[in-house]
């Protein structure tokens, strides 16, 4: 072995590495790490193997379906590298056992995750444990690898990440304009109402029937009497949600002034009088015990999931799927949640979304497409994952050698930009206004009289700040915390607080209050300055509150540009980064910038990608970073 290879080997062989994720990127990464001479690898993944993984997660076979990804990946790699140490954890990285001390034992952490939430969690633990992080993501042919070293480069959260899109409630309940709105309605409202927890808040009727009926009456529609015929029940639901509700909504002329009026659809218009006679075998068809394979499609002679069904076919699927839930899966009714791998659930949601789409004049979609939208399915191919895994290992080796000048973020592009398919960019310094790594206070505009502590916890502390086990303090007063070691009285107190509006709390939170929000597991603490505001725009601010501070305004951007430039003058300014940033902007990169900045404003028509949290391919960020960096 020559000297250069030896130099590459020594820091590698002594390194202890943590991999988070044993999926698409994870399988490739574990293989490449093992081949590259890494000897001590720990790997965490909570998932089990599914058939749709097998096209790219090459360490898994059909016989492994249902088994732990981390465990099977470990065993598969040990077959070609038997003498290395791989430890697998079939667990959620957010579990408390993976605390700061756990992270401290590693020389570098490598992420191959599929969701924003876990990425942010790992970022915080890496910052707290002061362990470098190499982060990655892929969507189709696009991919990226970034390096995050505390104090040297920006952390994963220095730039805002697009969070999964939420839609205004009334768009979903009353005025859908895109197919994705129909999917959200079918999945989160109708499916949840029929098969999920009956006690959950559900807006299904509230708006459509505000004028027409009381909520008590409408609730009764969804109740099925013990002896009620399932098909009759299904038709009743059908007529209620696609017929009666639409008609009730049409009564409100104001809503339809500038909108296309929806068409009420009743089952008798599209379906024969009785289906049971025609499909008498429906309820005792070839019974299998596996719930996830129960399907209405064979009964209806439907085979191809990519085929577009008409209104009648969708209506038949709606009724048959509903019947099958009651006939075959009665025990689960009341606690089902939508799962993209639940065939019958996908069929029901596809059919319901399509009937609603028909009603509102929105183009219908195939089951295959609907499943992708409903399940937020990430487009994935093996090649991009393999490339990204290779790039991760290259960065990991630089990190282990502490070769800070050579760290790069690398983007895999589908179309070459200035001849490059793999584009390296010099990483950026920490954002001084990052609330995660620089502890900058946040500002929360909220109606302190109307909003409950629960809203703050759910919509801000968990959803926006990504905290797992939060604790909220106002001055010396503890308003809320989560943990195993709390006694009953405290739990009761906190639960009572959740239902109070902010201004009614034991220590009232009003305009000018400063809250401290902490996550002890993530060792993250941040301050929130509270500003009272009366009104919120339902369309633009559907959450009824606005968090700001970590989102950089354009003005702030300019400021950090000058700071960054001053600082970079003293750090070594690598030639190749200049090369990338000097940008002899060809037409491709120019059009790319335009497209990306549009994307940044989140106005793209591509609904699938909006919902796809892996879509934070972050190219828009690269562009803004470039501006910040270039002298």
């Amino acid at each position: 072995m020559d000297t250069q290879q030896q130099q590459q080997q020594s820091p590698v062989q002594g390194a202890k590495v943590l991999m988070v994720g044993a999926g698409g990127i994870g399988c490739e990464l574990l293989k490449t790490l093992a081949l590259s001479g890494f000897h001590d690898i720990h790997i965490i993944d909570m998932d089990t193997i599914e058939v749709s993984n097998l096209n790219r997660q090459f360490l898994f076979r059909r016989s492994h379906v249902g088994l732990s990804k981390a465990k099977v990946a470990r065993d598969a790699v040990l077959r070609f590298r038997p003498h290395i140490n791989i430890r697998s954890y079939h667990a959620n990285v957010k579990n408390p056992e993976f605390d700061v001390d756990f992270f401290k034992q590693f020389d570098v952490v490598l992420n191959g995750l599929d969701n924003l939430d876990a990425r942010r969690h790992v970022n915080r633990l890496c910052l707290a444990a002061d362990v470098p992080l190499v982060e990655s993501g892929t969507t189709g042919f696009l991919g990226q690898v970034t390096v995050h070293v505390k104090g040297k480069t920006e952390c994963y959260e220095c730039q805002t990440k697009p969070t999964p899109k939420t839609y205004p409630v009334c768009t979903i309940t009353s005025t859908p304009t895109k197919f994705v709105h129909c999917i959200v309605w079918a999945k989160d409202l109708l499916f949840a109402k029929l098969f999920g927890d009956k006690n959950q808040d559900n807006d299904l009727n509230v708006r459509a029937n505000k004028a027409a009926t009381t909520s008590k009456e409408t609730d009764d529609v969804f109740e099925r009497a013990e002896d009620e015929d399932i098909e009759q029940y299904g038709r009743k639901i059908y007529d209620h949600v696609f017929g009666y509700n639409i008609e009730a909504a049409l009564a409100n002329e104001e809503t339809w002034k500038n909108r296309r009026r929806p068409r009420p659809i009743y089952s008798k218009e599209v379906l024969p009088e009785s289906l049971t006679q025609k499909n008498g075998s429906a309820q005792n068809c070839s019974a299998t015990d596996d719930d996830s394979t129960v399907s209405s499609m064979p009964l209806l002679g439907l085979k191809n999931p990519q085929e577009l069904w008409g209104l009648t076919q969708n209506s038949l699927v709606f009724i048959e799927a509903l019947k099958l839930f009651f006939a075959k899966r009665k025990k689960e009714i009341g606690h089902l949640t939508f799962d993209k791998d639940d065939q019958l659930a996908v069929e029901f949601v596809t059919a319901a979304a399509n009937i609603r789409a028909e009603s509102f004049g929105i183009p219908l979609h195939s089951l295959f497409e609907a499943k992708g939208i409903a399940g937020n399915i990430v487009h994935a191919v093996a090649t991009t994952n393999a490339i990204v895994a290779g790039l991760i290992v290259i960065e990991a080796i630089k990190v282990l050698k502490k070769d800070a000048d050579k760290y790069r973020m690398t983007y895999c592009l589908e179309h070459p930009s200035r001849k490059m398919l793999l584009m390296p960019v010099e990483p950026f310094e920490p954002n001084p206004s990052c609330y995660v790594c620089s502890k900058t206070p946040l500002v929360l505009e909220i109606n302190t009289q109307k909003s409950k502590l629960r809203d703050l916890v759910d919509k801000i502390v968990k959803a926006k700040l990504g905290m797992n086990l939060p604790m909220i303090m106002h001055g010396a007063s503890l308003l809320y915390e989560v943990g195993d070691d709390l006694d009953d009285i405290m739990v009761a107190n906190y639960n009572a607080n959740l239902e109070k509006s902010l201004s009614e709390l034991p220590s009232p939170v009003i305009n000018g209050s400063i809250l401290t929000v902490e996550d002890l597991q993530q060792e993250l603490s941040c301050k929130i300055n509270v500003k009272h505001r009366e009104e919120f725009d339902e369309e633009k601010e559907p959450e009824g509150m606005v968090l700001s501070g970590w989102t950089q305004s354009p003005a702030l951007n300019g400021e950090s540009a000058s700071t960054s430039n001053n600082e970079s003058a003293s750090t070594s300014n690598n030639e190749s980064a200049v090369d990338v940033t000097e940008s002899s902007s060809g037409p491709e990169i120019a059009s790319k910038k335009r497209r990306l900045s549009d994307n940044d404003k989140r106005e793209t028509e591509n609904v699938e990608s909006e919902d796809d949290d892996l879509m934070e391919i972050e190219n828009p960020i690269t562009v803004s970073k470039k501006k910040r960096r270039v002298a």
Partner: protein, 322 residues
């Protein structure tokens, strides 16, 4: 299209990638036949990727017996001497690859690629030569070009932490999506012979240095009768001599090709697994594009160097001179 539907089993298995390239592309993939020769790390990665993608068949050629060295950067060979003793690299890799996707036919073809007749290549849609000699690459490329059907031709080579891919799709038509419109495009690829004989002088200065360096190494191996990787620092004077001659013949300054780069290429004889993954990934992506007719293909060289982290495509043909 050809009317044949994907089976339910195929739709379930390929779900995530059909969402990337569509059902028609998947159907074309399942009917394609790929010939691969010279199975080291990068080609191993390539094979894994196309078997997972679900091509129709993969035919492997590599009669070298498995030894300690072939284990490097190759995850298809379990390191059990009892299992691999007496077997060729192609045989062992074939067994492992079959396992990755039962729907792909993986087989071994014995013998020397360079002595095969033109008709032999007609069975394939894609031919990939890994780590081949200059003579082999030229000869096979010419045979592929003689056939009435188009056989996509690729070569791949990795040294130290650098990689090179060459692509010849002859006259290639594809559709490109421009905004919402579909545009028909056509590309004309030079042959391997033409692409490596382009005069250097008119080639733009920003072109990857690896293009020139790899030509020097090719000539060195050809002159000295060396196989891929059969070189060391001791050969540097000879290599520099060849560089000097080539630069003079092309009327360019010797600074065109850094000596340090040539040194890396002849001393880094062991493949660097992350680079194998990257170059093998790009190569598979290109083959998938060419087979499915979707997306703009790479024309006609690709270079990756882990040292600067750039993966660039270079279009090198006689268009510079005309």
């Amino acid at each position: 299209m050809d009317g044949e539907e994907l089976t339910a089993q195929e739709t379930a298995l390929y779900d995530r990638q059909i969402r990337v390239w569509g059902a028609n592309a998947q159907r074309r993939l399942t009917k394609s036949h790929i010939l691969v020769s010279g199975i080291k790390g990068t080609v191993t990665e390539f094979c894994k990727n196309i078997v997972l993608a679900g091509v129709g068949s993969v035919t492997l050629m590599d009669d070298n017996l498995v030894n300690e060295e072939s284990l490097n950067a190759n995850f298809l060979i379990p390191p059990d001497e009892n299992a691999y003793r007496g077997k060729t690299v192609a045989e062992i890799c074939c067994d492992s690859l079959k396992d990755f996707n039962p729907m792909v036919l993986v087989s071994v073809e014995k013998g020397d690629l360079s002595t095969r007749s033109t008709e032999f290549f007609e069975k394939f849609d894609v031919v990939v030569i890994g780590y081949g000699s200059l003579a082999t690459k030229k000869a096979v490329n010419e045979k592929c070009r003689k056939l009435s059907k188009r056989v996509a031709f690729y070569t791949v080579d990795c040294r130290d932490s650098c990689g090179e891919i060459f692509v010849d799709l002859q006259d290639y038509k594809y559709t490109k999506k421009k905004l919402e419109e579909k545009v028909e495009c056509e590309l004309n690829f030079p042959s391997f012979q033409e692409a490596v004989s382009v005069p250097w002088k008119p080639i733009p200065r920003r072109t990857a240095k690896l293009y020139f360096a790899m030509r020097v190494i090719e000539v060195f191996e050809e002159n000295e009768g060396r196989k891929h990787g059969e070189c060391s620092l001791l050969d540097l004077p000879t290599v520099l001599e060849i560089k000097k001659k080539l630069c003079e013949a092309n009327s360019v300054s010797e600074s065109h090709i850094p000596d340090s780069l040539l040194e890396r290429l002849i001393t880094g004889t062991i493949e660097f697994p992350p680079v194998c993954a990257i170059v093998g990934g790009i190569l598979a992506q290109e083959v998938i594009k060419a087979v499915s007719g979707k997306g703009e293909p790479l024309k006609n060289f690709f270079y990756y160097d882990a040292q600067d982290g750039k993966g660039v495509m270079e279009d090198i043909s006689n268009s510079f001179t005309s």
